[in-house]
Symmetry: C2
Subunit: 404 residues, 2 copies
């Protein structure tokens, strides 16, 4: 049996986004080549909400929530009923399938909280969990923490866009081998690839057939670039009995400082998630929940403008990386880029650290998303446009210094 010390070794967060400040400094003299590349610090490990500020009205909503007092501070564990009512309607419209606000939805502390509760409600010792590679780094860690056994399934990306999404043959094989839970993100984190409609329909049908629970992380599904088609698994022709969809206003809407997410789907699983929330953190912070009143209710044109700004950054960065010889798949949604590094004389983690110290650029190593992605870095390009372009150029320059 795994000891608690081993359990926490597997939970290592040293390379996790946002934790760079806790990495020890030290001598890099033996690795350093050339002079420092000049430029202001750009932290691609998460979005820059000063460059792309929180949705209009969120502070006012918080202040109104605070003014309500006790009723807003002490909501049901699954979130204030009145807020869920309004939000469920808007999410039903967005995802294209009805949603019962009382039975099928829970407000959580961020989408991370939603993912934790969903995995905790479905994975226990020995549960086989299909995890996509690459995918959000916490999926694997959560499955392990709850005692699950990971069955990796590759992501199709970078080839025929009609095949984008989980590799369906490998997924079918995993289901046949006894997988009980599938967790995946679309748009995919870190690649920005959107699972093709056919892939989502097929995934849903296969999960329905095999009785697999599907946890689908759609965190970035609102920030869809021009002309892309997006399929919501919960609105498929053949929906599995147990589906939890996860979304939140932390990314596109820059409300990360409020720690808000929602999970919606199968009522029995939502009930379990609420029971778990009762011992994890009781509820999403009461006053913060009020900011959800602004979600999917933004001023006319706000979302379009936000998407346009991000698409322009995306296109410029793709240009920088591709001209610099770093192959990068075009993200169809969200604000992640997953460029491939050239062959180098140093390891990925050393390069990531040199980037920080020699080029004032913070990125997340690919190994956080797939153990074998030792030649990739992930960038959240929701940044100041010019600063991001400059920082991307520094990445290309530094990579050339170490190219083999």
């Amino acid at each position: 049996m795994i000891t608690i010390a081993e359990k926490f070794t597997a939970l290592g967060t040293d390379h996790a986004p946002g934790q760079e400040v806790r990495q020890r400094g030290g001598e890099f003299a033996e690795l350093t080549r050339g002079t420092k590349l000049q430029g202001g610090l750009v932290d691609f490990s998460h979005g820059d909400i000063d460059a792309h500020p929180p949705t209009p009205g969120s502070v006012e909503a918080w202040t109104e929530g605070y003014a309500i007092g006790g009723a807003q501070a002490y909501t049901e564990y699954r979130g204030l009923a009145d807020i869920r009512e309004g939000l469920a309607e808007r999410i039903a419209a967005f995802t294209g399938a009805p949603l019962d606000a009382q039975r099928e939805m829970i407000v959580t502390p961020g989408t991370q909280g939603a993912l934790f509760l969903a995995m905790g409600a479905t994975v226990t010792t020995g549960t086989k969990v299909a995890v996509i590679e690459p995918d959000y780094f916490a999926n694997r860690k959560l499955a392990q923490f709850f005692g699950g056994e990971i069955v990796p399934v590759p992501l199709n990306y970078g080839g025929d866009m009609q095949l984008n999404g989980p590799d369906l043959e490998r997924l079918e094989q995993a289901f046949q081998e006894g997988v009980e839970v599938l967790v995946f993100s679309t748009p995919n984190n870190p690649t920005g690839v959107v699972s093709a409609r056919a892939a989502i329909e097929r995934t849903a049908a296969m999960a329905a057939h095999h009785g697999v629970v599907v946890i689908v992380d759609q965190l970035y599904s609102r920030m869809l670039y021009g002309g892309e088609d997006y399929a919501h698994l919960r609105a498929c022709r053949n929906v599995p009995e147990n589906v939890i969809t996860i979304m939140g206003p932390s990314k596109t809407e820059s409300l990360s400082g409020f720690r808000l997410g929602v999970a919606f789907g199968t009522a029995e699983l939502v009930d379990r998630m609420e029971k778990l929330q009762a011992i994890v953190s009781l509820r999403a912070a009461g006053y913060n929940q009020a900011a959800l009143r602004t979600w999917f209710c933004e001023p006319q044109g706000w979302l379009t403008a936000r998407i346009k700004a991000h698409q322009e950054i995306r296109d410029d960065l793709l240009g920088v990386f591709r001209r610099g010889g770093m192959a990068t798949v075009t993200p169809q949604a969200g604000s992640y880029l997953y460029p491939q590094l050239p062959g180098m004389e140093i390891g990925l983690h050393d390069f990531v650290r040199l980037l920080r110290e020699q080029a004032a650029v913070i990125v997340t190593p690919g190994t956080e998303f797939a153990p074998h992605d030792i030649d990739r870095i992930r960038l959240n390009f929701s940044q100041d446009h010019q600063a991001a372009v400059d920082a991307a150029s520094r990445i290309v320059q530094l990579a050339k210094r170490y190219a083999s």
Copy 2:
């Protein structure tokens, strides 16, 4: 092996404080005696923060935090370093032992979050956990959720005040039988009893001797009534190697709507807790963390006035219950009362439900705190003074209707 369905049955929250709204209504005709007792709804399941509002300056601190932007929204997982620095100094002064802000402290989503992380960092399948009875209802549920084996230890209360606290003989026995983790609250929830200094010193020494991890929930340790002595376990003569102390500004300070707590103690355990927080909810909501700048920094006289107001309510309610024949231990701290019901012709849960429907009073049944406490109810008396007195009278009246 326990199935996931069984795991969640054990996590039932129907009777948990704050969840009353989710209990189904229904016919009580066969149980109802007499007419409804008139009075406005008083919800003793938690404090009334409209009657005892949040600490001055908390909203301003939040607003300043929001204005800081990204740096406040995306803190380290363990909380913003600068906030921890200031708070650690004040907590070290309060608890009487030094505290390293960087290595020994983590900011969490409420004290519930702190408790979850502390238990998750120390309890795994088969870990023997000493749980005090009665004590905070989540302790038992958390131990079970993480696969631990519960070893109940009685609380001494209501007798010689010098013996208040865990029953030391039973605790020693539990430690000898292989208990690895002790979790308990002082002031105790639900009784309001403060563990005597000698009991805390002895508990610490025993845990040190047996290598037991101690998780001590001191949520209510600031609201100490006149003349009471309070012992901080972390400042004992003989401190165990592994101690986590938990506090938060949700109760005395009425900041529950911000969902803030802190855990402080052994650096290795804090490291584990941060790793776990990374997959649970990333961090306490960034802007909310700013409210911690007001904690232990309240305006002169604020705490004294708050304690005085609560002591007056406490004394009046003790009078009502004792005159009504319901034995009630005098709480030495905090705002919980744990009166004993007279012998009745109906069960505890039916009485609790009748209280809600016939007397507009919400209380929490004793069984949430100890399985055998079938004749007790817990009240959080942090309420409007007059409303609380009226509601307590209704409890006495209704209990008399059903007395056997």
